[in-house]
Subunit: 176 residues, 2 copies
């Protein structure tokens, strides 16, 4: 994987999101990367992120799908324009609609892998399909950009769809 995640390219004033903003010290700070035509995020929930003991809280899983979706949407929009993510103008997306299906309980204590696929890029709107896996054989090492992606053999725990829309230019330009 490359050294910089999608979220590392967000403009500073749009990098405060609780789910994916690198400047939000209280947040999840997820990091998403290309893997061919798919996108990948790895995340390890904290012990208190539970629904019932032993299983991950569905609201956190929805949050991960949400921000994996907006990150993927941004990357897809740059790719559709044939641009690198370090070029101007910056593209940043927010979620218009989120759908999450909990297929089976997601066990706690295991590195989670989200994989996204771009379903549609249409104007300022991008639709992303996402699956979340609990990777039982995943490394316990700290996550870095070079952490190898592991694949679950037992199927997705959660699947979701994010319809993301590009943030209006006045926000990207900092005219809040």
């Amino acid at each position: 994987m490359p050294d910089r995640a999608f979220q590392d390219y967000y403009p500073d004033h749009l990098a405060w999101c609780y789910g994916c903003g690198r400047l939000n010290e209280h947040g999840y700070q997820i990091k998403t990367y290309w893997d061919g035509d798919e996108t990948v995020t790895l995340f390890r929930p904290q012990p208190h992120h539970i629904a019932i003991p032993g299983y991950v809280y569905g609201g956190l899983l929805a949050s991960l799908i949400d921000c994996h979706g907006t990150g993927t949407a941004a990357a897809a929009a740059y790719r559709a324009e044939g641009r690198e993510m370090d070029t101007e103008p910056a593209l940043r997306f927010l979620t218009a609609s989120l759908r999450v299906d909990y297929l089976k309980p997601t066990p706690l204590g295991i590195l989670l892998t989200l994989r996204g696929r771009i379903l549609e890029v249409k104007g300022r709107k991008v639709t992303v399909g996402i699956k979340l896996f609990a990777s039982a054989g995943a490394s316990a090492e700290p996550l870095t950009a070079n952490t190898p992606v592991t694949y679950a053999s037992d199927g997705a725990c959660v699947q979701g769809e994010v319809i993301a829309v590009q943030v209006p230019d006045r926000y990207v330009l900092g005219l809040l």
Copy 2:
């Protein structure tokens, strides 16, 4: 509103949810009550719960809708059986499917009101429709069971639907 919220009736071993478990000291500990045939939750996000500066994080809003939905589902199931929530056996629900539509940005610093309506009770499955309002005129007083519910005049910021399923008896009985 009554003194005890739906979540106050959850069995201890099923009261650890990050969104609604009264025993999870790190979590949101939402409290939901009947208001006629609708259900109500009030919640005040923290300053770091942002998507972009000034607006509430969508993942938090999805989490609130999720747990408001499961709480409402439990209350609806008791009501469908003609039982009070302090009677046995305990009924507890988890989310099978979550849909969230972000209609407009939800401003930070304002008390949020979620209102739920039961769309269907079918066997062990309950479907709940939910709207989330930013109540600009809401009291800044600490929330208690007796905090008056305020109504937004400007329409919902978010709407969602939760399909909740009853937790299998072995979990309710504590045989984890």
